[in-house]
């Protein structure tokens, strides 16, 4: 799927990014909030189901954290950071459209208790790097 000229994407400076279009917000030394980017949300278009790893399950860097389904397609979500899922966004079960409407705020996906944050942070892209990455897609 190629992106149309009609779309513009928001990239936030205070987040880190993956090539698979997830974002990570470092809350403190161990806690990370995870979601999908505005680019991913716009490309997916009309999210109708979100299925997430359960609370207390372990996730690994760039391994599956769940799936997001839109009218047209299904996409895997990859965890930017390894650790334990401590919270999932319960609202998405009944309001999956929050992922489209507010990918960086109300539409966040999970909170992770990171076990290797310092090392893994370096593997993620800065806002500037991610912006130039999606420009070339």
């Amino acid at each position: 799927m190629s992106s149309g000229q009609a779309l513009k994407y928001e990239v936030r400076d205070d987040l880190l990014y993956t090539k698979e279009h997830e974002w990570a917000k470092i809350l403190n030394e161990t806690r990370v909030l995870v979601g999908i980017t505005d680019y991913a949300a716009k490309l997916l278009h009309e999210v109708v189901y979100v299925s997430l790893a359960i609370v207390n399950s372990e996730v690994n860097h760039m391994q599956s954290l769940g799936t997001v389904e839109s009218v047209k397609a299904v996409s895997d979500i990859f965890s930017p950071i390894s650790g334990k899922v401590v919270k999932i966004n319960e609202k998405l079960a009944t309001h999956p459209e929050l992922v489209n409407n507010s990918p960086y705020d109300v539409g966040w996906l999970v909170e992770i208790d990171a076990k290797n944050l310092l090392a893994e942070k370096g593997k993620l892209m800065s806002a500037k790097e991610y912006s130039s990455f999606i420009e070339k897609l």
């Binding site: 799927m1 190629s2 992106s3 149309g4 000229q5 009609a6 779309l7 278009h45 009309e46 109708v48 189901y49 799936t67 389904e69 839109s70 009218v71 047209k72 299904v74």
Partner: protein, 366 residues
């Protein structure tokens, strides 16, 4: 990459996707909004990528009649029919619409199949019929939904509400030479217009005029959810050259009284025996969206999904698939393997919507 005459509009207003070698709009305002506009009022699609062939000459009628299992000899002027092109083994090469316009025919084929169809038709043309590909020299729009005739009446200034379904007329209007057919592929009432002009501004002017008469521009995303909700086939997914019209539950296109035609032997014998597989509708009971290639189970595997999506109208997963015939009765509970998870679903007879409320057979309220 090919572009239709309306590409300038799409580029500015839509999310573009590659489809059958064309840069086409996937959606403008959103798949669900566009889908619901067609179910509740009126939407407009650019379908110029679809192949348009004019077949004419002395042997044209006999030629087309030989190519398809339907009765073309009995097709009156000003009428169209949905049918299939089959190979010698009865397998479907394409699903098409043939319209008769006096002594010539308009044949509308799928975009991805145009070259293949042209080759096939030429190879079977021992009738001296003349086949002209007018795809790039014309545009085609679909205006669909319960308000379609009102919208077009406003736009074109001609009375269309009394026109019968599957009829076609030719009109020379200020906007240009138009073929107007009361057909479509959304399950709704509606019209398909062919603008006979290679000037893009002609198509664009008509497109803009129809939009300003209260219809929403719709992309391929909504076209797919609409046709699936109506239970209509998509070539390449639900139909292919291994499946015969009998196997595809399209026996109604086969004229039983017909003489010789391509694929007759196989199709005739299948019409007498019971089909091994049936095309059925699947409606999810549990959560999840069935997609192409997902398995259909009743204990063991009984079939496969060929097209699946989220229904914007029903707000749940729907699909079309093939099951072995003994498992094809409506109401039967099945399970769909959605990426390793077995989710409860049931067999239904499409269309998926309530036909008293939606679709061209709906009971009018006013």
């Amino acid at each position: 990459m090919k572009r239709t005459h309306l590409y300038v509009y799409h580029k500015e207003h839509a999310n573009i996707v590659e489809f059958a070698g064309y840069e086409m709009p996937l959606w403008y305002s959103g798949i669900s909004a566009e889908h619901l506009a067609v179910r509740n009022s009126c939407g407009i699609f650019d379908i110029s990528h679809m192949g348009r062939l004019i077949v004419e000459g002395n042997g044209a009628t006999e030629f087309l009649d030989y190519l398809v299992p339907s009765n073309v000899l009995g097709l009156h002027g000003g009428k169209g029919l949905y049918t299939v092109l089959c190979n010698e083994s009865g397998g479907i090469i394409d699903d098409i619409i043939i319209y008769r316009l006096g002594d010539k025919f308009l044949v509308v084929v799928n975009a991805a199949n145009l070259d293949k169809d042209l080759q096939w038709m030429s190879s079977k043309n021992n009738f001296n019929a003349r086949i002209t590909d007018i795809t790039t020299k014309s545009s085609m729009l679909a205006v669909q939904g319960p308000d379609a005739s009102t919208v077009l009446q406003k736009t074109l200034g001609i009375e269309l509400s009394t026109m019968a379904r599957f009829n076609i007329i030719e009109q020379n209007l200020q906007i240009g030479n138009l073929l107007i057919a009361r057909t479509g592929y959304t399950g709704e009432d509606g019209f398909e217009l062919v603008i006979n002009s290679d000037r893009p501004e002609k198509a664009l002017a008509l497109w803009n005029k129809i939009i300003s008469a209260d219809s929403l521009p719709c992309g391929l995303g909504a076209r797919d959810t609409l046709r699936l909700e109506a239970g209509l086939c998509l070539y390449g997914q639900d139909l292919n050259d291994k499946i015969t019209p009998v196997g595809a539950s399209l026996s109604w296109v086969v004229s039983k009284a017909k003489g010789k035609y391509v694929g007759k032997q196989v199709i005739d014998s299948q019409m007498k025996s019971k089909a091994m597989v049936s095309r059925v509708g699947i409606e999810m009971i549990g959560e999840g969206i069935p997609r192409k290639d997902h398995g259909i189970y009743r204990g063991s595997k009984i079939g496969e999904i060929t097209s699946g999506t989220f229904s914007p109208l029903l707000k749940k997963g729907i699909a079309v698939g093939y099951v072995s015939s003994e498992h094809s009765s409506a109401g039967l509970e099945v399970e769909i393997d959605i990426r390793g998870r077995r989710v409860p679903a049931k067999v239904v007879k499409p269309p998926f919507y309530d036909q008293t409320l939606y679709g061209w057979k709906r009971i009018k309220k006013d």
